[in-house]
Amino acid sequence: MCIFNYQSGSRDNSPVFKRRSFIKTLIAFPLGLILASSTLSWANPPTSEVNTTGLAVTDDTVTVGILHSVTGTMAISETGSVQAEKLAIDQINAMGGVLGRKIEYIQEDGASDWPTFAEKSKKLLVNDKVAAVFGCWTSASRKAVLPVFEQYNGMLYYPTFYEGLEQSPNVIYTGQEATQQIIAGIDWVVKEKGAKTFYLLGSDYIWPRTSNKIARKHIEKLGLKVVGEEYYPLGHTQFNSVINKIKLKKPDVIYAIVVGGSNVAFYKQLKAAGIDLTKEKPLLLTISVTEDEILGIGGENIEGAYAAMKYFQSLDNPNNQAFVQAFKDKWGKDIVIGDVTQAAYLGPWLWKAAVEKAGSFDIDKIRAASPGIELTTAPEGYVRIHENHHLWSKTRVGLAQRDGQYKVVYESEELIEPNPFPVGYQ
């Protein structure tokens, strides 16, 4: 609907504003008559009521944005999120949409380039007036779009597990923040496997470093020992030296947060060096390898490793079975679903719930309505939005199998409270 398309900055320009809604009412009136005369009902609340800030909402559609990298390095990871968001939107539309309006989406490509993310998010918010954006994957891309979302008051649903230390009124974080993922995993490995010594390893950027910092604090708090901590540049492909060091130090647990292409090199070389993960000493615990990454690594190379995250494709509950089936029906039977893909799937559903609770598409009303929203239909089970815009969720530990799936060996009893600013861990 580009007739309502004016320049940025008109948010506080009230005369234009009034004129706009006046025009809109004028248009909406005859439109409503037409709709009434066709079989559509009057049950849909009128657009002027549910949309007072000029978002792209009409009497029968609402437009949202999808902003991920489908080209460039990050396309490997972000493809799954795009697929999940489209599936959720399709399913919501099949159920009748949101407030009686079908969801339409505009997809933009961030092209693995952070300034492009910022530019595209501005385009979505200012030109397209989208009612919500589902997108971003890396923390760098999220940090790049954050000022844009705060300036133009948009709402971003961000799917990736990440390092925490952030809380924005304009972002709902549907993945886990670091403490949720790390602490439960370490507690489990200490209690169940009797681990005493840890070797921390990661790719060299903010997420692995922050996460290992939290892990180290927690390990030391438990009175146990970190025998080594190391970082390798992103894209590093030679891990023989560090594997030798691990052999020398003989830790009980290798705590690995290696990402991207390095992952493949790391696990292949670990296996080639004779470290058999199925023997459980040393045991490997990771928070960065989902089923998506195993596709590239190969199940036979990572068999026996443990991963701590909130979702595995093999989770045994009716929600998840339906989700996996629908996902495969839409995107092909060989596809795998990782933690982030599931978190991306939650985005549109959480937004729908917030809109319906608020009875409005207005960003401010959605923000006010969001805390406390529950989703009982989530594939991972039950989730609830916390006041800090993160999700209460359970943490699970999975054991990597030869076929590339995880077998769930542990699930936290309670939902774990998100705590993006953990005191005593920084």
């Binding site: 970082y231 894209g235 030679q238 023989n240 080639a272």
Partner: protein, 308 residues
């Protein structure tokens, strides 16, 4: 840092660390040979080198699938077929690229940089379209993935030995081709004096085409071998390109011996430093050493002496 370990443990680790350095050395040589041939003999900087490597990796991936489906009995040996195919496919694409693009840019060497960079982007997006954005897993025969235990603690990765043997084989092949064959003589003649080489009846265009093709073909073999140690995805080639250029430039652009010497220096300092420092610091210091030496010897470690 070593007081808590016994002498025997330390010797074992020293041995394994030395071996890790040798593996890294072989990997670097294998990566750089193809680029060194093209850069050294033609003066063309092939920015798409990494993408040719990944083409080799994808060829291996497809071959493994064909063997798994149609010839499961021969699966243990598929890797050799895959490497040969990788060479052929990359050689063919290399010849095509030279014919369609590079030969028009000979007078403008800097433009080849831009053109081959463009080519690398085109190839990346083609891989993404054909094979999907996600990484693919190449299944390897079981015998290639284990390790050979020499003693209780010394374990030698079999794929490491494989890469070392392969590198030796390819490097001596290249040596033979360049310095012991008629074709090599022609290549060297063209490098030293193109007009005169043409005047004595050497088809310089053909020499260039096959030089480029062979360089790309070797990149393909390298890519195929690296499915054992690295990832196979549309942009995986980017992981290797920086190290490759580092080796070639540091070694001296026109010298194959220089490439080998430089790979040796870089790999040994890298793996020694990695052992005593963390990975990122090791990289930083290695790069500083390289920069320092290049400031003193801008032509690289070895430079070909030719009359200007």
């Amino acid at each position: 840092m070593f007081e808590e370990y016994s002498m025997a443990e330390l010797t074992d680790i020293l041995f394994m660390q030395g071996f890790a350095g040798l593996i890294l050395f072989s990997v670097l040589v294998l990566m750089a040979l193809g680029l060194a041939i093209i850069f050294g003999q033609m003066g063309v900087i092939n920015m798409a080198h990494g993408e040719f490597m990944i083409l080799g990796a994808y060829t291996t991936y497809l071959t493994s699938h064909i063997f798994e489906t149609y010839l499961p009995a021969l699966f243990d040996g598929y890797f050799f077929v895959a490497m040969a195919l990788a060479f052929l496919v990359c050689f063919a694409l290399g010849v095509l690229v030279e014919w369609g693009m590079i030969r028009f840019l000979f007078k403008r060497p800097l433009d080849t940089l831009l053109a081959t960079w463009g080519l690398s982007l085109i190839l990346q997006q083609s891989y993404r379209t054909v094979f999907g954005a996600r990484e693919v897993g190449v299944t390897l025969p079981e015998w290639m993935m284990g390790s050979y235990a020499m003693t209780e603690t010394i374990e030698v990765p079999i794929n490491g030995i494989f890469v070392m043997v392969l590198t030796l084989f390819i490097a001596s092949g290249v040596y033979f081709l360049m310095f012991r064959s008629l074709w090599g003589k022609q290549v060297r003649a063209v490098v030293q004096n193109r007009p005169m080489a043409g005047a004595v009846g050497i088809d310089t265009g053909k020499v260039d085409r096959y030089t480029f093709g062979i360089g790309c073909g070797i990149a393909g073999i390298a890519g195929s071998a690296f499915t054992m140690i690295g990832s196979t995805g549309p942009t995986s080639g980017q992981l290797y390109i920086v190290d490759t250029f580092l080796v070639v430039v540091f070694g001296g652009a026109q010298s194959l011996i220089g490439t080998i010497a430089s790979a040796f220096t870089i790999s040994q300092s890298q793996s020694t430093l990695e052992f005593f420092l963390s990975g990122s610091m090791a990289k930083v210091i290695t790069l500083l050493i390289v920069v320092g030496i290049l400031m003193l010897r801008p032509q690289g470690l070895f430079a070909l002496k030719i009359r200007q």
